[in-house]
Symmetry: C2
Subunit: 328 residues, 2 copies
């Protein structure tokens, strides 16, 4: 009937996007054009059961709001830390960053609860898809994205497609090792760039300096019970704290050398940094590349993402590109 047709026209084709990170669990309604219509954030629970329960609860809440907001949800895209089999929609294995998160079939419970198709991929891979569809990676045949949050994730686009790898373990860029020794990593190894340069690593170093009374310098305005974060470390360095500066130099060098390794292996034409530390790392990384990469790799562009939410947008993009075709 005519009024139904008008409702249909007023609806926006959208996706539900889920992002499971090392700190937060987030759900978003994202429309066809890549706009985040509504976003929900909760701490990511530490147990499997609580996490699954919260995912389903947040998704149901979002579905109700979607109706109200005239968004027609075509499917659910899930971005998660860890190794994912995207064909099966299964999280195979994660590091300590997300506990109790191995051999998890995400597709079935979410699909059963919402009666929608569900796609799952690794968070770095999702970020790469977002850059490809909405960001600097548009039309770029070979690029890599490195997303620095609690941990470090990555995605590789080669000949216009994600490299997933023979056991879905490709583009685990946070676990590129740049030291034969080096700081312990949440993956169980040591010397990984995640252990040097992630938000979590910088926070750990900030706390260490703070505990030794070496963090605060003149000009720093810190409340007594304020939780110590990476931002304090960066601020302290900016205000002349040489120990903080040394930590950050090492972090920049580690990340830069890790990226040089990526250049020497897959030789993309562009590296897109994303996450809250991206703008901080962009110039130092470009500098390390100019210092240490082979001449032929020096033409690389190192840029900062212009996307607010690469993992969520990427998860949404899988839905928006495939929902009509129901391809897994």
């Amino acid at each position: 009937c005519i009024s139904q047709d008008i409702d249909h026209i007023l609806e926006t084709q959208s996706a539900l996007a889920v992002d499971l990170g090392g700190t937060n669990l987030r759900v978003a309604i994202i429309c066809m054009r890549g706009k985040v219509v509504k976003k929900y954030t909760q701490p990511n629970p530490k147990t499997f059961e609580a996490r699954m329960e919260l995912i389903l609860k947040m998704c149901r809440d979002a579905m109700r709001d979607a109706v109200r907001l005239n968004c027609r949800i075509l499917g659910v895209g899930v971005s998660t830390g860890g190794r994912v089999n995207p064909q099966e929609g299964v999280v195979m294995h994660s590091t300590k960053l997300i506990k109790e998160w191995s051999s998890v079939d995400l597709r079935t419970p979410i699909s059963d609860a919402l009666h929608l198709p569900v796609w799952v991929d690794n968070d770095g891979n999702c970020a790469a898809l977002a850059e490809k569809k909405f960001g600097h990676g548009k039309g770029v045949e070979n690029f890599v994205t490195v997303i620095t949050g609690t941990g470090i994730g990555g995605g590789i686009i080669h000949h216009n497609e994600l490299i997933h790898g023979s056991t879905f373990c490709a583009a685990e860029l946070g676990h590129i090792m740049v030291s034969l020794d080096g700081p312990e990593c949440s993956c169980g190894s040591h010397g990984c760039i995640e252990a040097y340069a992630s938000g979590m690593a910088l926070q750990r170093e900030a706390k260490r300096l703070h505990d030794e009374d070496l963090l605060k310098v003149e000009g720093m305005d810190m409340k007594l019970s304020e939780p110590i974060t990476a931002a304090h470390l960066i601020n302290a360095a900016r205000l002349g704290n040489s120990k903080a500066e040394a930590v950050l130099n090492k972090a920049c060098t580690a990340l830069g050398v890790g990226i040089v390794n990526i250049l020497h292996i897959v030789n993309p034409s562009m590296v897109i940094l994303s996450g809250v530390l991206a703008s901080y790392y962009q110039a130092p990384v470009q500098h390390i590349v100019s210092q240490r990469a082979l001449f032929s790799a020096q033409s690389i562009k190192v840029v900062s993402s212009d996307l607010e939410e690469p993992a969520l947008l990427g998860a949404a993009s899988i839905v928006l590109d495939y929902a009509t075709r129901r391809l897994y």
Copy 2:
């Protein structure tokens, strides 16, 4: 005429293969089945002019022998250290390992001299093609080869094709860095696995120990003026020289960590080690992988090449696969 037809039948379709390494310049006649019919070896000259002259001389000599040996040479494949544009047949840039070897059009002079089509690619890439056609890589969709000679080279097969990269700088596996500091490398950087674990690096370390009178141990049979090589280092360690052992442990760890980085970036299902140190490195590398790689990457097979001459065979394979089609 009938006797000409019989001659034709008795001829074997073959390729001329050229291998430009850090130490030697070699030319070989290689038949369709991958057999090295005849091989010529000379030290690789240090200047551009002498090198080009020697390449052409050795190729002409080989062509004369080819006639005598009933080999019908379909074309010339050139394997060389350095970054190569295989579409143009041009060496773009090399490290100090091969001096005066940048912006060199190899195709034109060889093609003009021999009246044959000429293909050029990087030595590690050629080794990967050889493994794909004749070796452990047969039918393997995603594998990587690491070839340890004077330097360290590599090639990546992904979805059955070489990864060349956006500026032909992919698979420069010798220049994967596993230290923020580390030993100086011939590429100008430091901490590269080539600087830890190549034949040249081990020879340098053997000489250093020898100069400090720390190399020779009981049971080692060394002539007075014998040139010191990597083999002496390995032998000394085997006979209980703990300093030699420490050097080799570090080399194995560096190579292993470099390979873990490859696993975490492109996640091949197989790593094929080749070159004279391959059998030495195979078990230590497998061990480092089991210690430091992500769980999902642990199913990797680390094997030793069963090919005598990966670079030459790979160069030949390009000719044998393409000569009838004259595709560049």
